[in-house]
Structure formats: C-alpha cells, structure tokens
C-alpha cells in the first residue's frame, strides 16, 4: 500500500454516505424540535402599518410569535455589514425582523414557532400585516435612473462607487489608433443549493450553553455572530455545520436572520427549535447574484493589442449590502483576466434595488468580469477581421512575466499580483482540444444539415485562496487513527478525501486511518470559511503543516526509542523505521502512546507501548519544558496574498434556424490550478461549474416583474439545467504550481462557472452573425434578436457573406 496519495484520483470517501441516504443534513436533526416559520413581505417596498396576530392565537399548537417589537439589545439593531469598505459610502442592512419597512419580497416580518411546520404555517396564514406600498425599484437601469429611492435617505440608490485605475485612461484612449464603445448586460441567477438554509438550536439551561446546527459555509463566524447578538459568552456557544447539501456562496453570508432568531427562540422557550428553508423561501429570502450593466470603452492598435480599457459598471446589489462590495471588487479586479493592459480604469457603482440581496454566487463577480473582457476581445477581433484566438494571444501575459503585478487591489486588500501561470500554454491546449482550426469546416458541415454552427472561447484568471488564514489540527491516537480537523466547512466538495490524502501523504499513514472533521467549532475554533476557492489552498496547506508538525514530533520520539537520528527515520504505511534497516521500526500508533507519559493500560496499544518505554530520567519532568503530551500538532497557514488559477473554455453551439433552439454540442476546458491534490475531484468541480455556467448562459434568470414580484420562484419555472441540458465536457490540465504555498496548489472550486456566459455568447454570435449583448439568452429572445432589423450584425457575418458571394 502506498501512502503517497497526493495527486492521485482517490475515490471520494464521503460519497457512499451521501448517495445512500446516510448523510446527516440539517432537517435530519431534531425530529422533536419545535418548528419556526416566517411571515415574509409580499411587497417589494412598503411601510408596515400594523401587524395583527389575533387570528393566529387560537391555532392549536402555536407556541410563540415574534415581531420586531420582541427584539431587544443587539437583536434590535440592524444586521452587521460584514465587510465594510471605505468606498461603500452608504451601506444598509435589514433587521432580523422588519422594523417598519420592507425592501424586498421575502423579507422576514414575523417569526412563528409551533409544534410543527404545518401548524406554524397555519398560524402564519392568519397573521395580518398591513402595508402602505411604496414605489418599487427593479433592475440596474431603474436604480440608476433613480426616479424612486429604495432607501429614502439615499436618493441616487448608490451604495458604493468602487474605483480603481492603473494610469491615465483618457489620454491613452485619445491616443489609441482605434477605439470601440459598447454596453452590455448580464442577468441575475442564484446559487440554488439542493438543500436550502436551515438552523437547529438547542439551549441547555442548566449549563447555560447553546448548540446550533446550521447549514452554513462559516460555522466559526456564525458562532461569533450568535454570541455577540444574543449576548452569550463565546465558550457557551457551539456551532456545527452538519452535512450541507450545497452552498455555492449563499451560505457564506452570516448571520442570516434565521441563524439568530431560531437560537433566540430556543433560549426563550427552553425548547429545541428548528427552521428548514423551503424552496420558495430560498428564492425570495436568501441571495442572488450577477446582474450588471457594463459600459466598456477600449483602445487598441491595428494588430488588436489593447492600449487602454475603461469600464463603467452598474451592479445591482439588491435591497441591502451585508456582504459589502466584495462582488463589485472581484468584478473590477478579475476583469483583466490573463491580459496585459497598459492602462485600465474601472468604476463599479453598486446600486440598491427592491429585490433579494446580492452576495457571492460561485464565481462571485468573475463571470461578469470575464464576460466584459472576453466580449471586448471578440469585438476587437470582429472589427479587425482577425481570428478571436489570435487577438487574445497578442494580449496575453507571457509565461516569463511572473510574478505579474496588475497594480490593482484585490478583495483581500492585497495587491493583484499573479504568482504563476502559462496563459499561451492554456490557449494552445484549448485550440487543440476544441479543434479551433476546424471551425470553418464544422460550420459548413452543420450548414448542410440545416444548422447554424458557431464557436466561442473565453479565458480567465481567478484569484483563489485568499487569507487571512485557516488552521489544521492533526492527532495520532494510540489506536493508530489519525484525527484531522479544520474549522472551515464542507458542502460536498470532497474535503474529507482531499484532506485525508494530504495527511496520508505527509505523515506516511494509510488513508483509511485518517478521519477528517470540518466545520465543527467543538473541534476547531478559528476559521474563516469555505468560499473564494480557498479550502484546498488554505486548509489543505494548514493541515499539511500540522501533519508535518506531528511527523517531526513522531520522529523525535521514535528516534529516542530506536536510538537513531530523526533524520535517518522515515514513516511509511504507519510504521516509523530506520531508512534502509528493515525490522528496526516502531508503529506510529505506539509512538502516539509513548507521547503521553500517562499510560493507563486501558488497551493493547498501551500495553504494547510499555516494551518501548524507557525509564524516565529522575532529574527531568515527564513532559519536557516546551513539549506537550500527545502526538498532535496544530498549525495555521496564512498567505501573503491570493494565488491565481487560470483556465480557458471553448464552446461549439448549433442553432436550429427554424426554432432557434441552442444546442451546446461541444464544450472544452483547459484548467490550471497548480498542483492537484485529486484530479478526479478537480474534474468534478469543473463539471459542476460548467453546468452552472451553461445554466447562467442559456437557462437561468430571476424573472422579476416591475412590481418586484419574482415570477419564477420555483424549480418549475427557474430553469436550472438538468443533466440532459449539460454538454459533455472535454478537459485538459496544465499545472503551474503556486510558489506562494507549501503544497503549490491553487483553488479550483469556482473556475468552471466563470467563462461559460462569455464563451457561449461568443459562439452564438458567431453562429447567427448578430451581436449578443445581453445574457442569458433563450430561444425566444434569439428569435426576437435575429428578426429585429435594428439588431447589430457583426462585421464577421458581413465578411462571410461577401466571401460567399465573391
């Protein structure tokens, strides 16, 4: 058995549990708990004039009703702005329960607690909330026009004006041989994890302690929030993320109102209380992302090299800004992608609308940035009559230019300095993988079958693994079990497997002996969370460092026993041995027993250890100064800055010119996330990301009407793609290790989703010869576009037509 598992496609150990129904999700916990349900605003913007609960009081099984009036102290204050920023000049957050005004459909107004969820909803139905409706703002354009204000005291609806520039853009544009200006849009979608949010709270009155299970991406921070808002000592609150059925970003936001209100009720009532979000609640009561209006001006030379880029974005942040301006910053700084831009200016105006809040959804502003940059490349190529791949190639940062400083400031407040990469390599691999040079042949072939074929590509660079830190703890037990814990949480990524691989490799133990726990504040108190493609980079490295600490201690103890120098020892298959001297060994589990001078002989392991135990030195304490009992180590990894993964996608679409149905017939991905812990898990992440990318490009949107009512708040009408809509995906890998961390890895979680919209828009444009400036696009919209005499034809289409006539 080899213990060198780093880089191997080890099967996911969590899958058997998760796919045979043995997962323990939030709603599997607390069958006897009271149930909470919420009365939510049916209006997008209104003043609450009265809340009448009388009719609900005789519902049998009702336990309690809470409104804003019942909240005191910190709970009566607005929810926190988690990530303040100097350019977020007008942050606004809601209250746990609405305080006199509602700003989007779905905002919680009343919490009902009852014997079960059915009864709780019966009571909700009988509560009459009276509203005075206010004018509604929906969409970036309405917010920008500011005929009405979402928040009365912010008449222009602008929450933040994020601005970065790397030079004097206006003279650079004026000096450019050519310029282009255009406006484009991208719509809202959402994370839509299969499991919604959920909270279970249990108060131990005798111990004055609270245990909370929540379907979160950040259990340590939820713990801190609950302690602060409910005025509890941190040591009396434990928060556990059980199996979480998907997150994709929405569960990094915290505290959600329900994460405070459910514990509040549990404490007040002295009973277990649970709330499991239903799908409609998730649509209207959690978070969305992606809507932007992008105004772009680019200057370039006759070869297609960009000389200056000026971007002005209006970003819809919804009703509140609890997560600050992370998404605008990410769009602003990741837009530049793999390209060397001599001068770049970006302004992102983050605007309020009377819709669900906008917080990171897998990609977190990058798909929009990629869409802006890559569609710019397509426009330049179209204008100059150049191959789109060639224009990209001419603008790429070269492999010898790393570290490459973009002179921008990233979401973590650190400079955007690309650590490593090979972008021309990515592009070459992509062209080969998708058969870029065959495009004209494929187009002719499809035309014979009566289909319009188009190809498109998009490249991206993704800052991953931002700090400030994650920690890892590794402990070897006398049984030989290796316990690993880290504070960040898992939502199905395969952390149990990947982290076990790292420890097995670092420590030299069989992977079967390694047990991994994540997201449990009882095991690890300090953590940041699982987001921004950071788990493998941050916790992976922290765990590797912790394992190295354990290894060092094990070798020290074993060296003493085996009378050898630590550097002459190795650990393999759980055995510490002298290199090259077979038979001179001690099991690691025995070393673990020896590491603790208190050895009651409870078990065989302790008895076996006695044969190795030397008599103690009477002049020294049993535990040396600076040492500690036990074979364990805790360590932290804190990077100086993010590491930058990269990739390139290409799509081939076929369009039926009779029905305008769009079929993605080929989808190619070249992916670079540095050293790979488990290529199978990375490919799975890419597959899932591409599925969401295709969803965002062709199917998903939040269909708000002018009154701020979400018209498609169900899985019947919100068109998340099924497996039948996701194309087969061809993947090729490239590995440029990160010099920034011990394992040389970069994040992989979000990559797959980033270029989907840009690549598919490009392919559709190529197929139909009309400018695609608004995504997603559906067959009915494509039909409108192609028959609209005012819609812009591409120069490429005109050239093709001229060529055909010549």
């Amino acid at each position: 058995m080899t213990t060198k598992l780093f880089g191997e496609p080890v099967r996911r150990r969590e899958d058997q549990r998760l796919i045979t129904g043995k997962g323990r999700y939030l709603d599997d916990i607390g069958h006897t708990a009271l149930a909470a349900a919420f009365v939510r605003s049916p209006h997008a913007h209104a003043r609450i004039t009265d809340i009448d609960v009388d009719e609900a009081l005789d519902v049998e099984g009702l336990v309690a009703i809470y409104t804003y009036e019942d909240l005191t102290g910190p709970m009566a204050e607005p929810l926190p702005v988690l990530i303040p920023h100097p350019q977020l000049h007008a942050p606004r957050t809601g209250f746990p329960l609405a305080n006199g005004e509602v700003n989007h459909v779905g905002e919680p107004v009343v919490m009902v607690v009852a014997t079960d969820r059915y009864v709780a909803e019966d009571a909700c139905d009988r509560i009459v909330v009276s509203y005075e409706e206010l004018p509604v703002v929906v969409g970036v354009d309405a917010a920008r026009a500011a005929e009405h204000a979402v928040h009365e005291e912010i008449p222009d609806n602008v929450a933040a004006r994020h601005h970065q520039e790397t030079g004097d853009v206006e003279p650079a544009l004026a000096a450019a041989p050519r310029t282009l200006s255009f406006t484009q849009y991208i719509e809202r979608s959402a994370c839509m994890p299969m499991e919604g949010k959920g909270v279970h709270a249990k108060w131990d009155a005798d111990d004055s302690s609270l245990r909370v299970y929540t379907s979160t991406q950040a259990s340590t921070s939820v713990r801190a929030a609950i302690a602060a808002k409910l005025k509890l000592s941190l040591d009396k609150v434990e928060v556990i993320a059980p199996d979480v059925g998907g997150g994709f970003g929405v569960k990094i936001v915290h505290p959600w109102p329900e994460e405070l209100l459910v514990p509040l009720a549990a404490i007040n009532l002295g009973r277990e209380v649970k709330w499991a979000e239903d799908r409609r609640e998730h649509f209207i009561g959690s978070a969305h992302e992606r809507q932007q209006r992008q105004e772009i001006t680019v200057g370039y030379d006759d070869d297609g090299r960009i000389t200056a880029l000026d971007v002005h974005i209006w970003h819809d942040n919804g009703a509140y800004t609890p997560y600050g301006i992370i998404v605008p910053i990410v769009t602003a700084t990741q837009l530049v992608g793999p390209y060397a831009l001599p001068v770049y200016r970006v302004v992102v105006e983050s605007v309020f609308t009377n819709t669900v809040i906008v917080t990171p959804y897998r990609g977190a502003g990058r798909p929009q940035g990629c869409y802006a940059m890559e569609r710019t490349m397509d426009r330049i190529a179209d204008d100059l009559g150049l191959d789109r791949a060639v224009v990209r190639e001419r603008n790429l940062i070269q492999a010898d230019q790393f570290p490459y400083d973009h002179r921008l400031t990233f979401q973590d407040g650190r400079p955007v300095i690309y650590d490593s990469g090979d972008y021309p390599g990515l592009l070459d691999k992509l062209r080969t993988l998708v058969g870029w040079s065959e495009a004209e042949h494929l187009r002719a072939d499809a035309a014979e079958r009566g289909k319009l074929l188009g190809v498109g590509m998009a490249l991206y660079v993704e800052g991953t693994g931002p700090g400030p830190y994650e920690g890892g703890h590794v402990q070897v037990l006398g049984s030989g079990k290796v316990l690993v814990s880290t504070g960040l949480t898992s939502q199905g990524q395969g952390h149990e497997t990947a982290f076990a691989q790292i420890v097995a490799s670092e420590l030299g133990v069989p992977i079967e002996d390694v047990e991994v726990t994540t997201g449990d504040t009882r095991r690890f108190g300090y953590a940041v969370g699982t987001f921004a493609s950071r788990a493998a980079v941050m916790s992976g490295n922290a765990i590797a460092l912790a394992a190295r600490g354990v290894r060092e201690k094990a070798l020290r103890i074993a060296a003493d026993v085996l009378e050898a120098a630590p550097e002459d020892l190795e650990i393999d298959a759980g055995l510490v041995q002298v290199k090259g001297v077979p038979g001179t060994s001690i099991p690691l589990r025995t070393v673990a027993v020896l590491s603790n001078p208190l050895r009651y002989a409870f078990d065989e392991a302790a008895k076996q250890a006695t044969q190795f135990a030397k008599a103690g030195d009477d002049d020294k304490p049993p535990v040396a100064v600076g040492d500690a009992p036990g074979l364990e180590h805790r360590d932290y990894y804190s990077p100086i800055r993010s590491t930058f993964a990269s990739g390139a996608h290409a799509a081939i679409v076929e369009i039926d010119p009779a029905t305008w149905e769009i079929d993605v017939v080929k989808y190619a991905v070249v992916h670079d996330c540095g050293n790979v812990v488990n290529p199978m898990i990375v490919e799975g992440q890419v597959h899932g990301g591409v599925a969401q990318g295709v969803g965002g490009a062709l199917y998903e949107r939040m269909a708000y009407d002018a009154d701020g009512q979400l018209q498609n708040a169900s899985f019947m009408d919100f068109l998340m793609p099924y497996a039948s809509e996701v194309p087969n995906i061809d993947i090729d890998h490239q590995q440029t290790p990160s010099p920034l961390n011990p394992l040389g890895i970069k994040g992989a979680g979000e990559a797959g989703v980033i270029p989907g919209t840009a690549a598919i828009a490009s392919a559709i444009e190529d197929a139909v010869g009309r400018r695609i400036a608004s995504m997603p696009i559906s067959p009915t919209e494509l039909y409108d576009l192609v028959r609209d005499p005012s819609s812009e034809r591409t120069a490429t289409a005109a050239r093709r037509e001229a060529g055909a006539m010549a």
Binding site: R117, Y118, E121, D122, D125, D278, R279, R280, A658, T659, W660, E661, Y699, A703, Q711, N712, S714, M716, D717, L719, P721, Y722, S724, E725, S778, P779, T780, Y783, D784
Partner: protein, 291 residues
Amino acid sequence: MKPAPFRYADPRALDEALALLSEDGAKVLAGGQSLLPLLSMRLAAPAVLVDINRVPGLDAIEVDDTGVRVGALVRHSTLLADEGAARVQPLLARATANVAHPAIRNRGTTVGSIAHADPSGEMTSVLALTDGTVTVASAAGTEVLGWRDFFVGPLETSIPGGAVVTSAFFPALPQRSGTAFAEIARRKGDYAVCGAGVVVTLDGDRRVESARASYVSVGLTPEVHDLTDAVAGAPVEQADWAAAGELARTLVDPDTDIHASADYRRLLVGVLTERTLASAAAEAVAGATRE
C-alpha cells in the same frame, strides 16, 4: 410549503367516493402530480381530499377496434407501455412519452391530467385531437361528455365538484392515417413551450383527405385545427406541409409568458406543424402500402 389542514379519505368503492365528493370543498386525489404541489404552496386548500386510489375498477386500459378506454387510475407509464393501446391509437404512447419525467409518469394518471385541464398538458390535447370523450360519475349518475363540452377554460372543466372522471375514451385512429407528436421544451421533460399532435388521413388514391392538429401550451383550452385546406387533394408526396404550417400559424392564439413570447410560440406552431405533418403523412403512406 406545507399544506393547510385537510381531511383525508380513502374510500373503497365508487359510491363511497361520490358521497364524500358531494361535501363542500372536496377534491379528488389520484396521482397527485399537479395537486400536491398546489396544496404545498397553499394555492389549493380543499376541505377533504378524496383519495380514489383504492377504488376498484378504475385502473384498466380497455382496447378494442373502436378505441382505447383509459381508467382513472391508469398511470402515464402504464399507458405508455401498453402495446395494444399504441396500436389502436398511436398518439397515446407518443404523447405520454412527452409527459414530464419517468418518476412523474409513474405516479401521474392520464385521466387526472385531463381532469386537471391544463392547456400545457399533453393528454388534454390528445383527447381533443382524437375527438375523445370522458365518462363522468356523480351522485346523479353517469354521463359521457365530449371533449368540447368538458374543457371550459384553463384548469377548468364543466363538471361539478361532486363528480369524478372515471375514464377517458380515445377513438381509434382511422384507416389510411398516420400520427405524430412533437414538443419543444426549454429542458427535457419540462412543460412544452409548444407541442403539436397531428393526424393525417389519406384517401384511396393516397391523396390527403384530411390533416388536423392540436397544440400544447397554445391557447386557453385544447383546440383542434383543421389544416386540410392547405393540402387537400394533393398527392401525399407533393403535399405542401409548410403551407399547412403557415395556415396553422394564422389559426392559433398563443399567449406570452416568461418562457416564450406569443410570436415565438406561433413560430413553433408553424415549424412543428410542418414537421409533424410530414412525419404523420409518411406513416400514413406506410400504413396504406401495407393494406
């Protein structure tokens, strides 16, 4: 998304079911594929749910030369797999194959889908196209209603609350005829953006005698459109199916919703009509050749 309180009854005989259905606010539960989501979203709140799944005698498919009678408890998947039914009226299998996904077809009933009267349903359209009937039982007795008398509006039929549809009858496909059914949906198995079922009948000289179509997700209630004028008397090989498609576009009155504009639906009516008529005609020719 939990239903409001309701009483539940699972009668063991039709009489008992009818007695329960005569109560105010009673609602029939068969496959539940439309009703249960409505209950969960509290868009429907019946006082009593009369589960007819244990009523004997409602689960048969009866096939003879005149047509196919489908009992109220026959699941879509059962009808889809019934070779006898498919032989006598091929539209049944062709349409049920388009009903959602296997899990839904395994529970959902064909008659329930018709009684739900959703203009996005495949089987409402097929009942119309085949000129079918439903048998309705109530405390007052049993009556047979033609589809035109049955469908009143979207999700609305002519039968009173106390009644239950016990079966639907789909007449056999006429001789020298062929059928086709096609849908365009945003995702595989979704409600169609537009669907079309057609029947083409030839005369003894293999000329087009009639061409009829019925659509899914077009209009408020199922309709049958006679497209014969566009292709009447033409030798089947020369029939201008595109002209029939053009004619169909002028006859329908689709709506706009978040998935498709009325114009786009009209476009699809034309395309699907042309495609399905050609396919149905080819089948009719093959059938005529065998005779």
